[in-house]
């Protein structure tokens, strides 16, 4: 691995670590001050389905963490694309990493994050404009999750294809 490639991998590792740390902050904050005192994520998951707002709370966490993750990747992406302005050869040297199996797996995860953030975000836009009620909002959330899965699977086959070829 060349120094430039090692720097890219290190930056990617830092970004993934920051996103994981942010996820922990979101979860830690969620434990505080939700009607009835602190409550852990496991307890929260075990709540009966009649506590319908719980699902929306998880959607909120997923939206927030995926958003920070996408923004963190954008920062790295702007740096790696910036290299092309300095030296196309150096850009190609770093860019080779994007075609490696671990990065292809990362790209599938990135796509899943982008798709969930996009579909759930469009749901939130709609909720600002139309009153569909709590049940309607829940159905739209499942639609966003379903669309994310349905689009990610065939895309994953395309992205990961060269790994198995």
């Amino acid at each position: 691995m060349t120094p430039a490639q090692a720097a890219f991998v290190a930056a990617l590792a830092v970004i993934l670590g920051l996103v994981a740390a942010f996820g922990l902050i979101v979860m830690a904050r969620a434990r505080l001050g939700v009607g009835g005192g602190p409550i852990g994520p496991i307890t929260r998951l075990a709540r009966p389905s009649t506590a319908r707002l719980e699902l929306h709370r998880w959607a909120f966490y997923a939206h927030r963490v995926s958003g920070v993750g996408i923004l963190a990747f954008l920062a790295l992406h702007l740096v790696d694309i910036g290299i092309v302005a300095i030296s196309p050869a150096l850009y190609d040297e770093v860019h080779v990493l994007y075609g490696t199996p671990p990065l292809r797996v990362f790209e599938v995860g990135l796509l899943a994050g982008i798709l969930f953030h996009a579909f759930n975000g469009l749901r939130l836009l709609l909720l600002d404009l139309v009153d569909v009620g709590l049940r309607g909002s829940e159905r739209l959330l499942w639609l966003a999750v379903g669309l994310t899965v349905v689009v990610t699977i065939p895309a994953a086959i395309v992205i990961l294809g060269p790994v198995f070829a």
Binding site: L74, A85, I114
Partner: protein
């Protein structure tokens, strides 16, 4: 009965840019990972892509929209998790500086490659 409140600038920024990004980002990902294999998107691909003024302009719009959207999102997160304090003002300053650097850096990349 709740009083009608004016939407915050961050709230409005997130929603206006969201519509732009929902189209541009998904198109961008499809172009660079599905229609083209990622291994093919080398420096020659980047240079050829920006030969089109429409593509270059669309990418620049996507850059600005993404930074505004992400910046406003992080601004909201900081407001949620940090009480009004010098620390919060500092974090807001970081958002403005980092966002400005991202737009400036991305714009510089585009201009340099277009000039080559």
């Amino acid at each position: 009965m709740t009083a009608r409140t004016r939407p915050s600038a961050a709230w409005l920024t997130i929603r206006v840019t969201a519509l732009v990004l929902a189209v541009l980002v998904l198109t961008h990902f499809a172009e660079t990972h599905l229609l083209t294999d990622v291994a093919e998107t080398d420096s020659a691909f980047v240079a050829a892509r920006w030969q089109s003024g429409i593509v270059a302009a669309t990418d620049w719009l996507m850059l600005v929209a993404a930074v505004l959207h992400g910046g406003a999102g992080v601004w909201t997160i900081v407001d949620d998790y940090a009480r009004p304090s010098a620390g919060r003002r500092g974090l807001r300053g970081v958002i403005v500086v980092a966002g400005g650097a991202m737009i400036a850096g991305g714009t510089a990349t585009l201009l340099v490659v277009l000039g080559q």
